[in-house]
Amino acid sequence: MSGGRRGYDDVVLAAPVTIPYVRFSVRSAHWFLARTLAELIKAAGIRKADIDGMAVSSFSLAPDTAVGFTQHVGLGLRWLEHMPMGGASAILQLRRAARAVESGDANIVACIGGDTNHVDSFRQGVANFSQFARDAVYPYGAGGPNGSFAFLTDYIMRKDNVEPADFGKLCVAQRANASSNPYALLRKPLTLEDYLGSRMIADPIRLFDCVMPCAGADGFLVTRRSIAEKLGLPKVSLLATIERHNAFPDDPIQIRGGWAQDVNELYEQAGCGPGDMDFLQAYDDYPVIVMMQMEDLGFCRKGEAAEFVRRNTFTIDGSLPLNTSGGQLSMGQAGAAGGHLGVVEAIRQLIGQPLTRQIPDTRRGLVSGFGMINYDRGLCTGAAILGNDA
């Protein structure tokens, strides 16, 4: 079944907030998520009680889920979602929240994602990421995501003649974009020579292909247009969204994500095409996945991402600005916030309140999420096209 997706005419996104990322924290996830809520309330100029819906993503909130967190922060809600889908969570949160506010099940939904990072907590998270990972991945060198993405990178480099410098170009461009971002943990300029000279972690994955685990949180509000207008909030429209789980199970290795299955409907719903996108906030937990998104989201044909990368600059002032806050490669990966980072940056650019520099004349852009390497591939994909509300 395809087509016939109802739009989101009455839905807007607003109040992008970021709790500054830190490499390690002695705080728990609750601290970061609570601060996110407080910042959302402040940014929107509302009372705590005005939030009547919430969607939460966090790995380190365990043993709590979203519901335990409501009591922790004293929130009474009529709509609640726990979204444990890693880097796809933000897109999935906003999809559900959009339908909730549209139908009146909720008025203002706080979509938040964040994690803490203690010394050694990343190892524990990797060791117990999923049952399949515990049984059939971790015992093979315990490389975590580096090892998993190394397989994909190795395969795609051979299949499509991708050069290390192609991945490097993305890392270098994102670092340049991050240079004026006060929240980015990694702002030191990166050159292609630095990238190519960096040490191998899990061949062909180099040090600068890897995101740095850290603590932090991001959030935004989903509400109806009329409410945002009454509050006087700068807002963006939701033009189209997709999600897909466990797509293409018969591919022997992940050469495409679920986006490829839904991309036509995405642009059909938005009434525009990839060429109309003024930026791409792609999930960048490894550059190989960014290139996969460029292909699967229609920016170039399958197998031609390397050529596409060579033709574009990906800088804020160049062609197809990519991960304009620096992405996870420069900000750090605050666990489940990794998927929110792209959404809040997209909102910021579209309402003209960027953390870094403004993309000139930006009207609409694409945000993409990817999550959960359960065994040999990422299972969750999602994407949303946002537009400015001018």
Partner: protein, 414 residues
């Protein structure tokens, strides 16, 4: 190509001995079928009884038809290596200490994709490989891709060696070398390249033609060891415990006792004294030393072998007290395995059927030749097999036992 191991230099006594670490051992209970098979040297995966789909990773329901009737079946490990990497910074100490650790993804001809440890002689992807199941240092199963065709010295590959206990260049204690089996094991070890063999001998005044056969071999040193005497075990452990890489417990006391026609407990006690308490004493005095040297470089301590009996699974009434003593030893060996597991020392249990020796004179053939038993021990060490059922009788009893233990009990009652 894998570089053949060379004889290690003498250990520098000042250098600190590396302490043993093992990979993570947490697995879902429903995965253990793979380990039950790998312990016998077999690669088995779950196969759906309803739609025949082969599954991996192990699971509770068929990913094709949702049937929960998944059964472990031996599968062919042939497949294609489609991608590879080399993990240089693992999250676990075990892997960090052994980095770089090559891994790959193999598309098996029988269906699923498997993540594997990668033998260094495998050609770069795409390449045909064979996948085997092996037990890692934590005692859990890992899959390893080996080259499609054997390569010279392939057994010396670093990942394979983490799953095996090759006697090559190692020092071995055989606890009783005076018996037909003991002497055969000593000869087989030397044939497999063992560096040094301590041949344990109790009651040295007794003449043994088997011992005479091996006594003159240059690698053999005869040492006094009576496993029924605590002092004897302790003394030998004090002398050589810190050097033993492999301990093979061949000490056995076997008399033909049928409960229906015997009186008194003397024979039974003597059997227990050697077969059960002997193992207990060895475990107490040699176990800690082996554990402490389990990660001591190329020729680390690596394995402990118990020669049990297929009668340990189910009592053979014609040899009733012997069967009981072997069942006791089997039970204790499981506890020994648990004690050794955190160090990575492999405990190998061998369950032979009747051996062709004087105490089985009245049993009909087939009987297991001591040399065949010894060869099975070497194979188990070289392939990392944990449960060994050598010979036709043992294989048949095992099949009957696995099929229906109650039926076997009734059949053995005669």
């Amino acid at each position: 190509m894998t570089k053949p191991l060379s004889k290690p230099k003498r250990k520098n006594p000042i250098v600190r001995t590396r302490l043993p670490t093992v990979p993570a051992t947490t697995r879902a209970r429903y995965t253990q079928g793979i380990t039950a098979a790998a312990a016998r040297g077999v690669f088995a995966l779950q196969r759906c009884e309803d739609c025949s789909t082969i599954q991996y990773p192990p699971r509770e329901a068929c990913a094709n038809c949702l049937s929960v009737r998944l059964r472990w079946r031996e599968v062919d490990g042939a497949g294609e290596l489609i991608a590879r990497t080399t993990i240089r910074y693992g999250f676990e100490l075990y892997f960090r200490e052994r980095a770089p650790w090559p891994t790959g993804i193999v598309k098996l001809d029988c269906g699923p994709n498997v993540i594997v440890g990668l033998h260094q002689d495998c050609a770069p992807p795409p390449a045909r490989v064979r996948v085997i199941a092996a037990l890692d240092k934590g005692g859990q199963t890992i899959l390893i891709a080996i080259p499609e065709k054997d390569t010279p010295s392939m057994e010396d590959d670093p990942i394979l060696r983490e799953t095996t206990s090759d006697p090559k260049f190692r020092k071995v204690l055989v606890t009783d070398a005076k018996s037909a089996v003991g002497a055969a094991v000593v000869e087989a070890l030397i044939g497999a390249g063992a560096d040094y063999v301590w041949a344990g001998v109790a009651e040295p005044w007794k003449v043994s033609r088997h011992l005479e056969r091996i006594r003159q071999l240059p690698q053999v040193t005869v040492v006094p060891l009576d496993v029924t005497e605590e002092t004897s075990v302790r003394k030998l452990a004090g002398n050589i415990g810190g050097k033993v890489d492999i301990l093979i417990n061949t000490a056995e006391y076997h008399r033909v006792e049928n409960l229906a026609h015997s009186q008194g407990a003397e024979t039974a006690r003597a059997e227990m004294e050697t077969n059960y308490f002997g193992l207990l004493r060895l475990a107490q005095w040699f176990g800690p030393a082996l554990r402490s040297r389990a990660a001591d470089g190329q020729s680390s301590a690596t394995a402990w072998v118990n020669i049990l009996s297929i009668y340990a699974l189910s009592n053979f009434p014609a040899h009733s007290t012997f069967s009981a003593s072997k069942a006791a030893a089997y039970s204790l060996s499981q506890s020994l395995r648990a004690a050794m597991q955190p160090s990575g020392i492999r405990v190998i249990n061998v369950f032979p059927g009747p051996i062709d020796d004087e105490w089985n004179q009245l049993l009909l053939p087939p009987k297991l030749a001591p040399a065949a038993l010894a060869a099975a021990v070497i194979t188990a060490l070289k392939r990392g097999i944990e449960d060994v059922y050598p010979g036709d009788v043992a294989q048949e009893w095992l099949a009957r036992f696995l099929d229906n233990p109650k039926a076997l009990e009734r059949e053995l009652a005669g």
